[in-house]
Each structure stands twice: as C-alpha cells, then as structure tokens.
Amino acid sequence: MQRAMLGGILTGLMGGMLGSLTILRQLSFFSDALGHSALLGISIGLLLGLNPSVVLLPFAVVFALVVTYLLERTRLWTDALLNIIYSSSLAIAIITLSFVGQYKGGLNNLLFGDILAVREPDLVFSAGLLLVCTIFIGLTLRTQMLLTLHEPLAIARGVSVSAHRTAFIVLLSLVVGISIKAIGILFSAGFNLPSGPSIVATQLAIFLTAMALPRLGVLGQG
C-alpha cells in the first residue's frame, strides 16, 4: 500500500512536470499513441520470452524516436500519421498477444494497471527518473518556455530545437513507459492529457462522489 502510494505520487509529479509542456506543445496525441504502442512492446517481449518490464522502456524510447523522425520527414498531418501508427501498433500487439497464448499477468492488468503490484525497483527507477526530469526541466526552463511559445524566436536565440525535442521525447517516453505498470496503458495514454496533479484531483473527486452517492440515494429515497 505504501509502495503504491509512493509510486502514485512519483508518477503524478513526473506527469505534472512533463504533462504541462506536452499539452502546450500539442503533443497529447503523441503521448497517447506512445502509451498504446507500449502494448506492442510488451507483446514482443512476451513473444521473445523476455520480461515485459525489461523490454517496455527501451521499446518506448526507440518507438518515440522513430515516430518523431517520421513526423519530421512526412508531409502528412501530424494527427493522421499518429492515428495510423497508433491503430496499427495496437492491432499488431493484439495479433502478437494471440500467439503468446494465455498471458498469466492478464490483459486487464496491462490495460488498467495494477498500482499495488509496483515493486521496489520500479520505485527506485521512478525516483531516478523524477530527479532527471527535475534537473533537466529546471535547468532549461527558460529555453523550454521560449521553445513552447515560439520556435523561430528560440532558434534565432541559438536554441537547438532538434536536441531539445529529442531530449524531451526521450524523457516523455520513459515517463509513459514507467507509468504503464501503475496506471495501465489506457490511463497512461490519457495521463499526459489532464497532467499528473489533475489525475490525483480527478481520482479524489471520483472517490468523494462514490462516498457521497449512496448517501444522496438514501436522501432521495427518504
């Protein structure tokens, strides 16, 4: 329970930090595609007989870099390309999983996550990643702000857009990858959308509503 709480807090902090920039740079759908493609990484790991957790992170990083490369090279609209990648990687993942047979971890755990199954090594990795994110975003905050606001203005000031973009994408993919275990593919995909702190707020709101509803029901009946 303590591990679950700590894991949730670490994920929430990282999500808040990168999520705000993700939304402002209109990368929400990108992180969505990234989250769904994680299932492909997991299924490839299972097919090769490797531990899915070990395969997941390198796969997420490589996948994110390939997608970024494609986005820079193609003349297709961003959302069209992301949609193609997103649905095809999901379809390939489902087909691959059907070859694996019965996965004892269960598909539900992958899709919805199991925060109680967060282990100590996961926490150590999350804490390390949070530290890296804090240092990187903290030291380059001004650059990140100008880049988010107006790219040509940042280039004119000597900011290397491609280096910053790659660093941000790598961090984002690692954060999405690490959060899969705790909150699952479906939530991690949306997790950068409302950003970390608002997830906590949403969960609290759902919890309070769940507490309040039976009482309201009683009142309604009375």
């Binding site: 606001l149 040509p152 000597g158």
Partner: protein, 254 residues
C-alpha cells in the same frame, strides 16, 4: 570605416523545390538602418531566416559581428545574445499562460543551462526598465494572450531591448497594425534606435517609410537586383525591375 555588423556573402537558399534566394551578398555597417524591399514571394523572409540560421542555406557565408554562422546555423552564444529578431507574424497560442513580464524576461536570459532563479533581481530590474521604455509597464502582469496588436508589438520591442543588442532584424514588424499604430511603432523604434545604437535590418512594404528613415535599401526578387541609398534603389528603374513596370506606374500615380 565603421564596424561591419553583418556580412552576407553569396548566400543561396533552397526551399523544397525551388531556389528562393540566389547569390545574395551585402554588408551592414554599425548604426545603419537597411530595408529589404521586393514583391511577395521574392525571398525576403527566407533571406533573413537564413541569416539567423532558422532556415538552412545551400551555399554562401554569413558573418555576424565578425563571427561565422555555421552550416547548421549555430553561432557563439555571446553573439546570439546581441541579436534580436521580430518575426512577421508573432502568432502564439493565446491559451499559453505566460505573462508579459515572463516573455520580456526570456529576452534577457542567456538560454543555456541555468537554475530558474539565477540573477532574478537583475532580471526583474531589466524587465521593468524595458517595459517602462516602451510605455508598457502597466501590462506587466497581463497574460500575453490578451494583448492587442499594438500592445504585442510594444512588448516585443521590450523583449528586444531588455538586453543590450547590436543587431535588430525585423520581418515586417508593424504588419497587422492600423496607420496610427504603425506610425507610433516607427516613432518608438527610431527613438529606441537612437538611444540603444541598434543596427537595423528590416523587411518592409512601406516604401514611403523606407524613403524617410532608412540609410540603405536592398531590392530583392530572388536575387539582389540593386542596393544603395533610397534615392538610387527606389528609383523607378529599380522598382520596375523588382516589382514590374505596372507597379511603378500605379505607385507614381498614387
């Protein structure tokens, strides 16, 4: 002879399938105001973007304050800090929660690795002084999304002057302003130019303004057609070479 702030040698820039700028050479001396004129699609914005390293160049050299701009568009940070650029359309997402003070502050920062609170007092003073100079101190806490066109231009000028610059590159800076806004913008710009000693390279469609204020004019239509004082470069012959003879007849009738 005055110091050369910007030197461009045989610059050629390709855009996708065509050559947008070919074999352009010129230089700017310190304290001068140079205008680039030419019809739409002449490659004016492409030229300044290649000078700044925003667009890659195919051939040629660019020297800013004596330092070469590398092929990949990188330049020594201390030189970069002395250049300011105002883009043609400063289109930003109005939902970005940034205040005027934060935007102007970004003009002051040297954009490398630094803790966010570094030199905060100096920075705050510089931002306040810059906003006071453009008469926009009252906008300090306002979100940039809520600014009017004229206010945005004033704030961008504050972004330029918050740190002592040598070279200002303006890409149709007063675009989108009405006549009064444009006059006010140029008044402020030239007052600041005197105070700050800026060298200016600007793209302009307002030939009357160019005649009144600029020391030199570059007539561009993919290649550099002529350069010189406004009297020479804006003569009917030069204009008809750049814009076509129809334009010159129309312009003279007005």
């Amino acid at each position: 002879m005055k110091e050369v702030v910007l030197a461009v040698e045989q610059l050629t820039v390709h855009r996708e399938t065509y050559t947008a700028v070919q074999d352009v050479s010129f230089s700017l001396e310190a304290g001068t105001d140079t205008a680039i004129v030419g019809p739409n699609g002449a490659g004016k914005s492409t030229l300044v973007q290649a000078i700044l390293g925003i667009l890659p160049r195919l051939a040629g050299n660019v020297f800013i304050l004596g330092q070469p701009l590398s092929r990949k568009g990188s330049l020594a940070p201390q030189i970069r800090q002395q250049i300011a650029y105002l883009p043609q359309n400063f289109l930003v997402d109005r939902r970005i929660p940034m205040t005027v003070e934060e935007l102007v502050g970004l003009g002051w920062d040297r954009l490398g690795f630094q803790v966010p609170w570094a030199n905060s007092r100096k920075r705050r003073h510089a931002v306040r002084d810059a906003l006071a100079k453009v008469d926009a101190l009252h906008l300090k806490q306002q979100p940039i999304g809520g600014l009017s066109g004229g206010e945005t231009k004033r704030v961008l000028l504050a972004y330029c002057l918050v740190y002592p610059r040598r070279l200002l590159i303006l890409d149709e800076a007063p675009a989108g302003l009405d006549m009064r806004g444009e006059t006010e913008f140029y008044q402020l710009l030239y007052q600041l130019k005197l105070e700050e000693g800026w060298t200016i390279l600007q793209i302009s469609h307002d030939l009357n303004m160019v005649r009144r204020h600029c020391d030199r004019v570059l007539c561009l239509n993919r290649t550099l057609l002529c350069q010189g004082t406004p009297e020479v470069a804006l003569s009917p012959d030069s204009l008809s070479a750049a814009y076509g003879s129809e334009f010159v007849r129309y312009h003279h009738r007005c």
